[in-house]
Assembly symmetry: C2
Homo-oligomer: 198 residues x 2
């Protein structure tokens, strides 16, 4: 194999790990499975990382940092806040349907981090990131609908994140689009009620 800087090996392994976790679950993301996915030898793994745990930690940090706006408000003129939020949640649902394995991987990584005290902060950081993205979506939506959040927008964001998680789990288990859309509609209702017209 060619000589590759350690930093490139690290990111190649992280990407391979993400693919393995998405496709087969974190329990199956062994060092052997990851190096096979990356086309490397086992020794190269331990040249780039001290341990599997170190890789998983970096994997979580990477996917969290990369996480993009999930609930993107679709700004069509004339829509009220409830409609904007519902269309945003439906967009998220499309995103989930397009790559369910990725969202399942995110959930598994959260649970994994929750299981050890030293990794718990990674889960907290993950949800802090989710909350930041939610704040951004909520501000855009309120601006477009000429509304004002009655509670601090950070508090509303927690609610949006929770609703999104519920939507995700429900769809992953049942794969029932109609049920998921009903959840999205109810969630949009609830959130819209947390704002006043301006």
């Amino acid at each position: 194999m060619a000589r590759i800087p350690a930093s490139e090996r690290r990111s190649a392994l992280v990407e391979a790990a993400l693919r393995v976790v998405s496709r087969r679950g974190i329990a199956q993301a062994t060092t052997r499975a990851i190096v096979a996915e990356a086309g490397m030898s086992l020794a190269s793994f331990h040249y780039a990382f001290d341990s599997r745990d170190e890789l998983i930690d970096e994997l979580i940090a990477t996917v969290v940092a990369r996480e993009q706006q999930a609930v993107i408000p679709d700004l069509v003129p004339g829509q009220d806040l409830r409609q904007i939020l519902e269309s945003g949640l439906l967009r998220y649902l499309e995103h989930l349907k397009a790559d369910p394995d990725h969202e399942q991987a995110m959930l598994e990584l959260t649970q994994y981090a929750l299981r050890s005290p030293e990794r718990h902060p990674l889960a907290v950081a993950q949800y802090r990131r989710y909350a930041e993205l939610a704040v951004h979506s909520l501000e855009i939506a309120a601006e477009a609908a000429a509304a004002t959040w009655r509670a601090p927008v950070e508090e509303v964001a927690h609610v949006l994140v929770a609703f999104t998680d519920g939507l995700t789990l429900t769809w992953l288990v049942d794969r029932d689009d109609a049920a998921a859309r009903a959840v999205a509609r109810a969630a949009a209702d609830a959130l819209a009620r947390m704002a006043d017209d301006r």
Copy 2:
């Protein structure tokens, strides 16, 4: 060790497995950890079960069958539907706080089942059970508040289950009671809006 009927061994092992999964996570619930928890030898395990997978399947079936009313409406006279639902969700939150490991175990078992096609039906059954319990709660609440669900109660139940999942994940990660209560309040709002006064 005394001679114990196979059925008793099986249930003792299932109970031990639940404790191990709750305390340390499903990844750590090895046959050795489970028999140590149950005070048995490794061979006794394989006398009672053909395989670890068979035990896990029975564990999931057992906890699902045992799952009790989680969101119990607290019927105080004079409360409207929104208040009844919110108090029910707050009761669930207390239940979650009293035994977070158990709820985390339920989530992990769901994810575990989702990862293999032959076990996916176990997750579906788990959520069907949740939905049944939710239907029951919603019917009691609507009756007490003299309200009528506008949509089929089964559909509203899906929304309640999703909201409960979101509440669970949020609290497990952040352990933030105030944020969780805000989620409960918003969820109760959304659900109450899905009914009409009678």
